[in-house]
């Protein structure tokens, strides 16, 4: 195990609100590490609607999700935040010295006196396709991601979906698997045209099978898959398979945070409206993931919450130090931190 990363604040989630928190905390000399399950910053803005215009960011009559992310990254650059992407938080506990220990599925350990949860709608996780009884096969015959290709060696694979994940794994697993069938509900794909062309070429060479349809049911026992029933344009077809890989996009779940002992309100974290602190002192929640009377899930509300939470975080991280409120327009001190003075 690597040595723990000691920092002032661990921010859970690198969406717009988590990013802006780096700015507010940075003005008070607080160093931040951000952990996100996605492979890039921006959260929903970057993952769900990078091209979609947002019309309610103050002073931006229109800005896209990706532009907003890029602007925020530019704004927080002076504070040198450190990002840890593709990580899921697996452990959380309070230590005797008052700090929190946060561990990830990559075996990193973070130690910080304050934790700010800015996890939006929760962590992005693969969507379970609506196939009756699929739960019984998960982890044994049904997988939503490929960790090791070897696990699919000499198996009869059924891959479902029309995006890049489905096509990439169809192409990559074909040489390893005994057989590969790709099922998608139509002949058009969201995936990169190059991958689609390669797939069709392999089909012509007889290396794999492509079928139009939707998976309706599974047959097997004790989690061991034998076949899938696929509803196609010409009726139902039974496809023999031992492994099913459905790629139906991502959904958001509160995830392991639900087990931290935080008070929840309908899967959202309850906070006060002075400090946006949770029932665990030192743990804050800002943005879409929190709840208080009157809460609105707006990016601008999350920005406001970040600024207020910062005041309380500073008092925890630097006890005894006077917290002086200053304006970036007039404070030379703040301007130095921003690298403009």
């Amino acid at each position: 195990m690597t040595s723990p990363i000691e920092t002032d604040v661990v921010i859970v989630g690198a969406g717009p609100v988590g990013l802006f928190a780096v700015f507010e905390l940075g003005l008070y000399d607080l160093k931040c590490h951000l952990i996100d399950i996605l492979d890039k910053p921006g959260g929903q803005c970057a993952e769900l609607y990078p091209e979609k215009p947002i019309y309610d960011i103050p002073a931006w009559p229109e800005i896209s999700g990706q532009q907003l992310t890029d602007r925020l990254l530019e704004q927080i650059e002076p504070f040198k935040p450190e990002f840890h992407f593709n990580r899921m938080i697996t452990g959380f506990r309070k230590l005797d010295d008052g700090r929190f220990e946060v561990t990830t599925d990559d075996d990193e350990v973070f130690l910080a006196p304050a934790v700010v949860i800015a996890a939006g709608g929760g962590s992005f996780q693969p969507k379970r396709p609506p196939v009756p009884g699929i739960e019984a096969y998960e982890g044994k015959s049904v997988f939503y991601s490929v960790r090791r290709m070897e696990e699919f060696r000499d198996q009869d694979l059924l891959i479902v979906g029309g995006g890049d994940s489905a096509l990439d794994w169809t192409l990559n697993l074909q040489p390893v698997a005994r057989s590969v069938t790709l099922v998608h509900r139509r002949a058009e794909f969201r995936a990169a045209p190059d991958s689609v062309n390669k797939m069709f070429a392999m089909q012509e060479e007889g290396k794999l099978d492509f079928q139009i349809g939707q998976v309706k049911g599974l047959t097997g026992s004790d989690g061991v898959l034998q076949s899938a029933l696929v509803k196609g344009p010409d009726g139902d077809v039974e496809i023999a398979c031992t492994r099913l890989l459905p790629f139906f996009g991502l959904t958001m779940k509160l995830g392991p945070i639900a087990d931290w002992g935080l008070n929840l309100h309908e899967n959202l974290i309850k906070v006060d409206t002075e400090k946006f602190e949770t029932n665990i002192p030192g743990v804050f929640a800002i943005g879409d993931i929190n709840w208080y009377p009157g809460k609105l899930k707006l990016i601008l509300s999350g920005f406001h919450e970040a600024a207020l939470a910062t005041q309380a975080v500073k008092r925890i991280v630097s006890p005894g130090e006077k917290v002086v409120f200053q304006y970036t327009t007039s404070s030379t001190n703040l301007q130095k931190k921003l690298g403009v003075a």
Binding site: L48, P129, R186, F248
Partner: protein, 106 residues
């Protein structure tokens, strides 16, 4: 006002006076039609406001744009007249429109 009807999976029919320019999804949410979830709030970024357009209305409502068609890949039991209700804008031409909610959203 344009009259539209959303029929829930259990057969309950919701007759709604819809404002032109609003989406079928928005009207479904306002009337709390069961099965219209609209997780993403109408950004065409999920597939949880999936409806079947009544055959008689399919042509008038029209086919989905490519982006909506892509999102429909994530929906459950997609049929020839499947649409995402957040992408159907109410106009005078849709007076009397009937859509049905599927058994479940993805």
């Amino acid at each position: 006002m344009t009259k539209i009807s959303i029929i829930a999976f259990d057969g309950t029919q919701f007759d709604i006076d819809a404002e032109n320019g609003s989406t079928v999804m928005e009207n479904g949410i306002r009337q709390s039609v069961p099965g219209i979830e609209a997780e993403c709030g109408g950004a065409c970024a999920c597939a949880t406001c999936h409806v079947y357009v009544d055959d008689a209305w399919a042509e008038t409502v029209g086919a989905p744009e490519p982006m909506e068609e892509d999102m429909l890949d994530f929906a459950y039991d997609v049929r020839p007249t499947s649409r995402l209700s957040c992408q159907i804008k109410v106009t005078d031409a849709l007076d009397g429109l009937v859509v049905r909610v599927p058994e479940r959203q993805a």
